[in-house]
């Protein structure tokens, strides 16, 4: 599903040139659950942004679902992102002015889905993450764990093929964190590939493969016991 060759990302300011990613080669198959670990500043988030089509690489090729997307314009990337990729952030990033229901509905609105279908999908997803009873609340009326469940619901409501999670448990206590990891595992088992950046070895245990990044390079790859469904 994902094939990245010699990915390179360089940030330039007037004086300084910083290499965030250097010669990263990565393949991810449909339905796979991959964790990315490494110290702060190793390029984890940069990698995630490129994989999520939020950013373009400075060099190398990136093939996503059979398309060479490395040179896509922002507009093309946005178009491609819709319905194919869902995001979960450490800081939840819900829109404060929208209710739980509306936050989850948003991706479907941008997909131009018919109203009846939207209602069905949103309610189904809210049931799945067990937050239906809070659907008319605003994000700030929810606990962190609840907010992250909403964020997961928003990420999966359009049934994307890839979910990108950037330290999804980073702002949660262990109980809530575990709940969110369970949820992500369920989504993965339902067929979505997941790439997750994490500092937590415990969370990484949920995945099939752990990639360690250091100074923009992949240094190790560990395959775990847990086998994924489509392997």
């Amino acid at each position: 599903m994902i094939k990245a060759d010699h990915l390179k990302k360089v940030y330039r300011t007037d004086e300084v040139e910083t290499t965030a990613l250097n010669n990263v080669n990565l393949e991810i198959e449909a339905g796979e659950f991959v964790s990315v670990m490494g110290p702060s500043g190793c390029g984890k988030s940069t990698l995630l942004n490129i994989l999520g089509l939020l950013d373009n690489p400075s060099g190398g090729t990136y093939n996503f679902l059979g398309h060479d997307v490395a040179g896509y314009s922002e507009r093309q990337r946005a178009q491609f992102r819709k319905g194919n990729i869902g995001f979960v952030f450490q800081s939840f990033n819900l829109i404060d002015e929208l209710t739980v229901y509306e936050n989850v509905e948003l991706p479907l609105l941008y997909l131009g889905m018919a109203s009846a279908e939207r209602v069905r999908r949103v309610e189904e997803t809210l049931e799945r993450v067990n937050i239906m009873h809070r659907k008319d609340h605003f994000p700030q009326q929810l606990s962190g764990g609840q907010q992250q469940r909403v964020a997961v619901a928003r990420a999966v409501v359009a049934s994307p093929k890839l979910i990108l999670a950037d330290e999804p448990t980073g702002n949660l206590d262990s109980t809530n964190g575990e709940e969110v990891m369970q949820l992500l595992t369920e989504m993965n088992e339902a067929g979505a590939a997941i790439v997750m950046v994490t500092h937590s070895p415990a969370d990484a245990e949920y995945s099939h493969r752990i990639i360690h990044l250091f100074d923009g390079h992949i240094v190790t790859e560990n395959f775990l016991e847990r086998k994924y469904a489509h392997a």
């Binding site: 999520g52 939020l54 950013d55 507009r75 946005a78 995001f87 829109i95 948003l106 941008y110």
Partner: protein
């Protein structure tokens, strides 16, 4: 999707400072609506006449000409379809009575019988062709008819004029629309004046300017040629020596209200300058409000960079975000527009009082104004939505979600520029108001007044009673509060006759134009006039009655006596050789007319045709004094009520236009600064929010609250300072031009600008420091936690 946008917009409205935003815009637009109504009304004067475009008024330096002009011009010039004359006895307010009911009336016009063929006044009863034909015919307006006759049928009824003449009511006419340059309550037939020529002592000759003369032209384009033909016309009828007698002009009817300031206008006219000034102010306030709205929307949009990022992450593309921001700002702007109309409606009664108008909101709904309002709403909506729509929507989600960039800096220059503009305009308006008030105060201080006392003026309307004036004066003097009483033809504040005077035996070809007023021995005492040389009139010197003059300093100089002492003992006479006399004294110059005009030469003599009684009274316990004066008055002349005014008020009324303008400009200045402050408040809040982290870090490092307040306020203070620098020359030039309209004016002092500058700065500081203090007092742990 649209629903989603509106939902977000409404929720933002509830939580943020959006209400400030909408309120500011609404107030600004409401001002603009009111000003537009005012301007529209001023421009609408006399246009309701069907023939408005074809009617011209024949004038010279006065608004009236000799009575024969109209009929003779109509007979001789084929291009003149109709010529109609009006006569207004502006100096007299006769007592009109029907049975027991009587009122002093001022708005009586004598009109030719073809009035209705020229003007579109609608006659409700009576025959428009004949109602004004016979002498002593009278048409009443609806309101007047009801006032005198109630429900009874007025047609054929008799109205008595000053207990002397009887008029028959021949018609009822609709009330004159308020947007007319002359308004009447009664129309009497012009033929009455001919029937009465001797009685009025008003010869209806070519040279005596008695008739306001309107010509209805067949073709409005003919005016210029007709005007050019008038000198020959006069030569034909008056002889060659009259060729350069006067310069006659034809004024289009629709120009009279705003562009004519002749002597003997029927009512004080408006001034096109004020129309321009108010239109400019309206525009300025609207611009301030709009820039505010744009400013705040832009600033607040930065807080939403994260939302933009998120929406992009979940699939929004730029077009959708642009639509969202545009529809949001459009919603706000429409809301403000609706609110503005409601506000204007609420404020209209107050505005009408201030502006001396009777405007209604009807005009807002009908015609161009609604289109204009919608245009403004659309423009503001698009302009305010454009920055967030086009700039914000371009942000890349990675950047904004990281929170690394502070995207708002993009609009910073724009925002600063707008704040600068707002404050500069506000300061110009405040300075303008201050200078208008200073000039008004100056004029009032220069006007005749006697300290701690009041001069009450009572017109003497009862002719039969005039011989007994001295007895009445004595009776009034008995009252302990009365200081002095004087009977005279005119009093200061009223227009006085003009005559040519020469030094006895001097050159009659070159007379001095002077104002001439008949007074009594007590005139100087009553009005508190000071002698510069010689003596006042004396009862001991019998010859004073017939051949003594008191003149003012300007007159002395005009006659060629630079030192007042030189004037005493000189002999002067009227240019026709009448009334020779000796100058017994010179009084110091005093303003007997408004300060719009320079003081003119004035001569006073003791041959008064008493039409006014001036009573100087002590100001304490005025109501009791007036009641007592009235009792005395009534004993002498029971048929005529004691109708009086205060001299101060009469002068004040001459400055009514300035006073109104001053008040209106003042209120609009207040609103402008209010709206500007709303904007500043919002911007300060935004700026403080932008710098939350900086403030936190500085506090951790030991910054004091005071230091932080200074830090946060500095930028705004600098902007206000810069606005001040821009505003001063602008206000100076504008106000100098306004002051040029006065013969006596204040000098614009730096003090005013200093006052305006510090006032504005103080207001701005209070506004900004509220936010600054709030931000500076915040717990730094709070502000840093988000990192």
């Amino acid at each position: 999707m649209l629903k989603n946008y509106f939902k977000i917009a409404l929720r933002n409205f509830k939580k943020g400072h959006a209400y400030i935003n909408v309120a500011g815009l609404a107030v600004g637009m409401a001002c603009c609506v009111l000003i537009a109504l005012f301007v529209r009304d001023e421009l609408s004067y006399d246009r309701y006449h069907e023939n408005a475009e074809r009617i011209v008024r024949l004038v010279e330096e006065r608004a009236r000409v000799g009575a024969p002009f109209a009929p003779v011009m109509q007979a001789e010039f084929p291009e003149v379809e109709q010529a109609v004359r009006l006569h207004h006895m502006f100096w007299s307010t006769p007592l009109l009575t029907v049975g027991e009911r009587g009122f002093y009336e001022g708005r009586i016009f004598f009109a030719d019988s073809n009035l209705f063929a020229v003007f579109s006044f609608r006659l409700l009863r009576g025959d428009p062709k004949t109602a004004l034909a016979a002498p002593f015919s009278m048409i009443l307006t609806e309101t007047t008819a009801a006032k005198y006759f109630g429900d009874a049928d007025p047609i054929g009824q008799i109205i008595t004029y000053d207990d002397i003449h009887e008029y028959t009511v021949t018609g009822i006419v609709e009330d004159t629309p308020p947007n007319s340059h002359f308004r009447f309550d009664f129309l009497a037939s012009f033929s009455t004046l001919y029937a009465n020529e001797e009685f009025w002592g008003m010869p209806l000759t070519w040279t005596n300017p008695t008739a306001i003369t309107y010509l209805l032209l067949r073709d409005p384009g003919a005016a210029e040629a007709l005007e050019a033909a008038i000198p020959d016309f006069i030569v034909r009828h008056r002889g060659e020596e009259f060729r350069d007698w006067r310069t006659f002009r034809l004024q289009p009817l629709t120009d009279i209200h705003l562009k004519s300031k002749l002597r003997f206008e029927t009512e004080p006219n408006g001034d096109i300058a004020y129309v321009y000034i108010f239109a400019l102010i309206g525009l300025a306030v609207l611009l301030i409000a709009c820039s505010n709205f744009i400013n705040l929307t832009t600033a607040r949009s930065a807080e939403r960079a994260r939302e933009v990022g998120l929406r992009k992450v979940v699939g929004a593309h730029r077009g959708q975000l642009i639509r969202q921001f545009l529809s949001e700002s459009m919603l706000m702007s429409v809301l403000a527009g609706a609110l503005a109309v409601a506000l204007a409606g609420l404020a209209l009664p107050v505005f009408n009082t201030l502006a001396g108008k009777a405007l209604t909101m009807d005009a807002v709904v009908s015609g161009g104004m609604l289109a204009g309002l919608i245009g403004v709403v659309l423009f503001v909506g698009v302009a305010a939505g454009s920055y967030p729509a086009f700039v914000l929507a371009r942000f890349r989600p990675v950047t904004v979600l990281k929170g690394a960039a502070t995207p708002a800096t993009g609009g910073a220059m724009l925002r600063k520029g707008l704040v600068l503009f707002q404050f500069a305009v506000s300061m110009v308006l405040i300075a303008g108001t201050a200078i208008v008030y200073e000039q008004l105060a100056f004029m009032q201080s220069r006007t005749l007044h006697v300290d701690d006392e009041q001069i009450v003026v009572a017109p003497m309307l009862d002719r039969s009673f005039r011989p007994q004036v001295e007895t009445l004066k004595e009776a009034l003097m008995q009252h302990p509060q009365v200081v002095a009483v004087s009977g005279s033809h005119r009093v200061p504040g009223q227009l006085m006759n003009g005559f040519g005077y020469v030094v006895e035996g001097g050159d009659r070809e070159d007379p001095v134009s002077v104002r001439d007023v008949g007074v009594d021995h007590d005139f100087t005492k009553t009005f508190g006039l000071e002698l510069a040389a010689g003596r006042g009139f004396s009862r001991e010197i019998v010859t004073d009655e017939t051949d003594a003059y008191l003149i003012n300093e300007t007159a002395a100089q005009a006659f060629g006596w630079m030192d007042p002492e030189d004037a005493v003992g000189q002999r002067i006479e009227r240019v026709d050789g009448a009334q020779p006399g000796v100058v017994v004294g010179v009084v110091e110059d005093f303003h007997y007319l408004s300060l719009h005009h320079p003081i003119e030469p004035l001569v006073m003599h003791l041959r008064p045709f008493v039409m006014n009684l001036a009573i100087r009274v002590r100001a304490d316990d005025l109501p009791a004094t007036l009641a007592s004066l009235e009792r005395t008055w009534q004993q002498f002349t029971p048929a005529f009520p004691f109708d009086y005014y205060f001299l101060d008020d009469a002068f004040d009324s001459r400055y009514r236009a300035e006073k109104r303008a001053g008040q209106l400009v003042g209120y609009f200045a207040l609103l402008a600064i209010f709206i500007a402050c709303l904007g500043l408040f919002g911007l300060a809040a935004f700026s403080a929010a932008q710098r939350t982290k900086e403030i936190g870090v500085r506090k951790v490092l030991g910054a004091t609250v005071g230091g932080l307040v200074v830090l946060l306020s500095r930028e705004f203070v600098r902007l206000v300072g810069l606005a001040f620098v821009l505003a001063v020359p602008l206000a100076y030039v504008a106000m100098s031009r306004w002051l040029d309209g006065f013969a006596y004016r204040v000098e614009i002092s730096w003090g005013i600008f200093l006052m305006v500058g510090s006032l504005t700065l103080a207001i701005a500081l209070v506004t900004v420091s509220y936010q600054a203090v709030k931000a500076a007092l915040a717990d730094p742990v709070e502000s840093l936690r988000y990192e």
